[in-house]
């Protein structure tokens, strides 16, 4: 889990008030896709548009990872021919995209979610079942 100092500080200082789980959306089959429905617990915290955009980008990235196309077939055949030893040297396409996703999530956390007291957890750490959003206690000097 890649975290910057600021996020870790946030974690240590604040307590998690609750967690929201965005479940998988299986309407397109078994591909990895998350529901874009806006959870009610986040209504007070974040803009609906922003949230949907994040989830949609994640969905697009996962779709890219699992895409069936010439490139992935080529990789599969090449791997088969080399008895899968080629993966000692290079990463699979899926893993490359997963790295991209991890970077994206970290970036989103830093820019958007941490200032709002939220934290996105990379779905791969939850077995690609959910996007876990931790809501931290609101300790800011505000109306609450």
């Amino acid at each position: 889990m890649a975290e910057t100092h600021s996020l870790q500080d946030l974690r240590q200082q604040a307590a998690i008030a609750s967690k929201v789980f965005v479940q998988r959306d299986y309407t397109s089959g078994t591909i990895c896709k998350f529901q874009t429905k806006f959870p009610s617990e986040l209504e007070t915290r974040i803009d609906k548009q922003q949230f949907e955009e994040t989830i949609q980008t994640l969905n697009n990235l996962y779709a890219e990872a699992e895409k069936l196309g010439g490139k992935s077939y080529l990789e599969g055949c090449l791997a088969c021919l080399t008895a899968y030893t080629i993966f000692l040297c290079m990463e699979t396409h899926y893993e490359k995209v997963l790295k991209k996703i991890a970077k994206y999530i970290q970036e989103q956390n830093e820019k958007v979610y941490a200032p709002l007291g939220l934290l996105l957890t990379d779905p791969i750490e939850r077995g690609l079942r959910v996007v876990e959003i931790s809501i931290y206690e609101d300790r800011s000097i505000g109306s609450r």
Binding site: M1, K19, V20, F21, Q23, R24, Y26, T27, S28, G29, T30, A65, E66, K67, L68, S72, Y73, E75, G76, C77, A79, C80, A83, Y84, T92, H93, Y94, E95, L98, I124, E125, R126, G127, L128, R129, V130, E132
Partner: protein
């Protein structure tokens, strides 16, 4: 020089001298297969053992890859996730928690026009993705669950299906290869002695006239007493191993080739063995029933299954398992590390291979392939697939837990320190523990047999009797009890009561 070569070759086509026969005899002790190689390699071409060796290595390689790769295990839900799901289910069901069994937990999803039911897995505390299934032998939910192969010792699922397919395909080629060359050897030997004599040890015993190239031997056809006797199998000596090899190869070829053909069909139609056996997408169920996962044409389906992107493993199989706060509850099958997922950031679901093989008796759990030209019931040779007692339990989502797990759970409840001190012990260990409405928040696993009967009674009235091997009955799964103490103990055991 080509002329010399052809002359040399033609020399071998003429009947070999008796010297050859005596020389061959010296290599009897090696057994059928090995003896054939020098003979065939000198007689025909030395490429034969080379090709055979390459095929064999490939078969072993794919077998090992299938056995030791993660089939696509879904890690168990973290306690927070499970709690969240429970809440959602309660809201959806209208919380009929008056002591009656809660209705089965399913969700319906429309995929490509077909309605698919997603079932809730009580062991893993998740709603299973479509095509996933819980394997009772591995005790994990597996994505795109095909079957649990006892020959390979692992589940066959999304991540290792292609290796499994390559294994059985290469094994078919290997068995056909061996069979062909064993027959060739018999034929070649029968050129010197008669066909029947080639199958026998001593040619003098059956003074049948040998015909040249004697495979089609009229004597054999006329001599009807020979065919049913199979006495040639019981021979001892150099021909005996050959005969047995022929028989073994024959049955192997049929079962393995049949299995490969079946899986080729499955790949082409993008189905799993599980779905095919249940007839989920067969047209017999309804006119509009079709497979929503199929890509349309066979070629795309094949490419997707065999050459598609290989997703990485979702579980951390090398991570250290950190125990939870010390539990008074007995360890379960030793598999679940699920409490540890909270303490570490990696998924630490069970490593299915090592633990289960020690615990579970290896029942032939392979679902029987329905008459698809496979003699054995599984992924293997002729004689192995006969009885598949619990075969249909596998790949079935929740209710009937197979006997092995029952017996294991029964065994695992050890005679551990007395129960009265339990309640005070629990509190320091379970800071998040809820106040249970019933008097004994006992984390013990319980017998299956009792729960369906206990279920109707209100939770507070359960007796704390222990006539059954120290097991205390816990009522049906209390939705609110999400503390880690209960996770391990009620894992999978409430299925019968709730579904």
């Amino acid at each position: 020089m080509p002329e010399a070569k052809s002359r040399a070759r033609s020399r071998y086509l003429i009947r070999p001298r008796p010297r050859d026969a005596s020389r061959r005899k010296g290599k009897e002790g090696l057994g059928g297969g090995e003896r054939h190689c020098p003979y065939l390699s000198s007689r025909l071409t030395p490429a034969i053992p080379v090709i055979g060796g390459v095929l064999f290595c490939f078969v072993i390689g794919t077998l090992l890859r299938t056995s030791f790769s993660d089939p696509g295990v879904l890690p168990r839900a973290t306690p927070d996730e499970a709690a969240d799901l429970e809440r959602q289910i309660d809201v959806a069901n209208g919380s009929t928690s008056t002591g009656y069994r809660p209705p089965p937990r399913t969700r319906e999803v429309v995929i490509n026009g077909q309605t698919v039911k997603l079932k809730y897995c009580f062991t893993c505390k998740i709603f299973r993705p479509p095509r996933a299934s819980h394997c009772s032998l591995c005790d994990n939910c597996v994505e795109r669950f095909d079957h649990h192969c006892p020959w390979v010792g692992n589940c066959v699922g999304r991540r290792n299906y292609r290796f499994f397919y390559m294994f059985i395909l290469s094994l078919s080629f290997l068995t056909i290869f061996i069979f062909a060359f064993v027959i060739t050897r018999v034929i070649l030997r029968s050129e010197t002695v008669g066909f029947l004599s080639a199958l026998k040890d001593s040619p003098a015993r059956y003074p049948l006239k040998s015909t040249a190239g004697g495979l089609v031997n009229t004597e054999l056809l006329r001599n009807s007493s020979y065919l049913p006797s199979f006495s040639f199998l019981a021979e001892s000596g150099p021909a005996a191993s050959e005969n047995r090899l022929v028989v073994v190869c024959f049955f192997s070829v049929w079962s393995i080739v049949g299995l490969s053909g079946f899986h080729t069909y499955l790949i082409g139609s993008n189905q799993t063995t599980n779905e095919d056996i249940k007839g989920s997408w067969s047209s017999k169920r309804g006119k509009d029933n079709y497979n929503p996962y199929s890509h349309g044409n066979i070629f795309t389906n094949c490419c997707a299954a065999l050459c598609g992107p290989l997703p990485p493993s979702l579980i951390d199989r090398r991570g250290y398992i950190l125990p939870d706060t010390p539990l008074p509850a007995p360890p379960t099958n030793g598999i679940t590390m699920y409490g540890a997922t909270q303490s570490q950031s990696h998924m630490a679901a069970a490593t299915p291979l090592l633990q289960n093989s020690a615990e579970q008796p290896l029942v032939a759990e392979e679902p029987p392939l329905p008459g698809r030209a496979s003699l054995g019931g599984g992924g293997g040779g002729g004689g192995g697939g006969g009885p598949c007692p619990a075969s249909l339990l596998l790949g079935q989502p929740t209710p009937p837990t197979s006997t092995p797990s029952l017996s294991c759970d029964g065994e695992i409840i050890p005679p551990h320190p007395p129960h009265p001190p339990e309640p005070p012990h629990l509190h320091p260990h379970a800071p998040h523990q809820h106040q249970h409405p019933h008097p004994h928040p006992h984390p013990h696993s319980h017998h299956h047999f009792l729960t369906p009967e206990e279920a109707p009674s209100p939770p507070g009235m359960l007796p704390c009797s222990s006539p059954l091997a120290h097991s205390h009955t816990v009522p049906f799964y209390h939705p609110a009890s999400q503390d880690s103490l209960h996770e391990d103990s009620v894992r999978g055991l409430v299925k019968l009561s709730s579904v």
